[in-house]
Symmetry: C2
Subunit: 256 residues, 2 copies
């Protein structure tokens, strides 16, 4: 490690879309913006303006420096060093959604999802389908990195992310706060027969093992996506999350 560039909890994001979503959604995370000399366009201008407003250092550099920082990814002339470790606290999240404003509220909690692409894809679907926050246990979960932001097409930057030490305790707290907890498991009741009450937390288990038993035991209801045939490989985690979020949104938006 060189002295000039001490290791920090920040990492590089590149590409206009990811950088713009980050500066819009989480300006406080921005540390430093690199812009390729000669880059133009209204989006680059907006990125530069937002970065300055966020207090990030802005440097115009040779395109080759961006190539290095982006490690082969398509950077479109911009890269942002951002901190991904400034998650929101559970108290902060609950304050953001006071009790009288929780009708229809949907939150996603991931029990040890370890693949960055799955985490990013789930975040993208969560934003698209109306979930308003993401809860991740600190241990054995993929951390939010540039790769995750890219895999989410920038969407994860639009979601408050709450890192919790103990997911089970967090779910208990949310239940006390009036949330309904739904967990995804193949042994559960078909999602289309379940009633999704809000505010709700949807728990998606890890790719290989599903929810841990303690987490599953805290669910008000365990729901499944009915498989067409026995012995069929299950849906991947992001497809399963999408289907269950869709079913919840369907029930919230349209009475059956």
């Amino acid at each position: 490690m060189s002295r000039r560039e001490p290791r920090t909890d920040a990492s590089w994001l590149s590409g206009i879309h990811c950088v713009l979503e980050t500066l819009r959604g989480k300006p406080g995370s921005a540390k430093e913006l690199l812009v390729a000399a000669g880059s133009r366009g209204s989006e680059v201008e907006e990125i530069t303006r937002l970065a300055r407003e966020a207090g990030a250092r802005v440097r115009y550099v040779d395109r080759r420096e961006l190539d290095l920082v982006a490690r082969g990814a398509r950077h479109q002339g911009v890269a942002l060093r951002a901190s991904f470790h400034e998650g929101e606290s559970l108290d902060g999240l609950l304050a953001r959604f006071p009790a009288e404003a929780r009708q229809g509220l949907i939150i996603v909690a991931l029990d040890q999802i370890q693949d960055p692409h799955n985490l990013g894809a789930i975040a993208r679907s969560a934003v698209n389908l109306g979930a308003r926050a993401l809860i991740l246990p600190e241990r054995r979960s993929a951390p939010v990195t540039g790769a995750v932001v890219s895999a989410s097409a920038g969407a994860i930057q639009k979601l408050p992310v709450v890192n919790v030490v103990n997911l089970a305790q967090t779910l208990e707290r949310l239940k006390q706060e009036g949330f309904w907890v739904y967990g995804a498991d193949a042994a559960g009741r078909p999602a289309w027969d379940a009633v999704f009450n809000t505010p709700l937390v949807l728990v998606i288990g890890s790719e290989g093992c599903g929810m841990r038993p303690l987490v599953a035991s805290l669910c008000d209801e365990v729901v499944s996506i009915p498989q067409a045939a026995a012995g069929v490989e299950s849906l991947n985690a992001s497809c399963a999350a999408s289907v269950l979020l869709y079913e919840a949104a369907r029930q919230v938006n349209k009475k059956p």
Copy 2:
């Protein structure tokens, strides 16, 4: 290209799961099986037996030969050279499902999906959620390769795949045969308000551009997955396909 190993339309698949699904689902595609010397276990025995029954050559080789063939993928001691170009014809598909047996039948057609991982993920969801065949245009679609089979966790080997020259003509033919054609597009009617009649074809457009206009014009109904907010990145193709297949399955299995 060496003379000893002429280029063919076959490629290598590795890993017990993918090889087993291929030998079970599409035995006719199997050309040659490599087994690492010393590999044991009931699954390896079944793979060897199925490969012999399928008329494939079986060779016991040094594990390093498998490492080469699998190109870094986890091979678990088995690799199969299989042909992926023996798609089914549309006539063959229609014969497989005669008119009196099409109640509840769901087929997926992909309009120029070019990413092998998306193709594999869609196939996995399609099998899981009850679709019974996959229609791919010959041009501008990712071909079914080992990477696609792996991305589908072997699931694509359980589906008849029909390669068609002209997707629009194929959809017209299927409509004449009594199929309902539903296409996915953000401008469509919310999926939960649509009525999914069967037999049906669900058309998913390409990652960047969606369905081509001619294809879209042939749909009996264009359906969308309602987005929670404007300006949100859309679902990726496999998540969108999963949600729409779920909605179709929900309506087929449970009256609203």
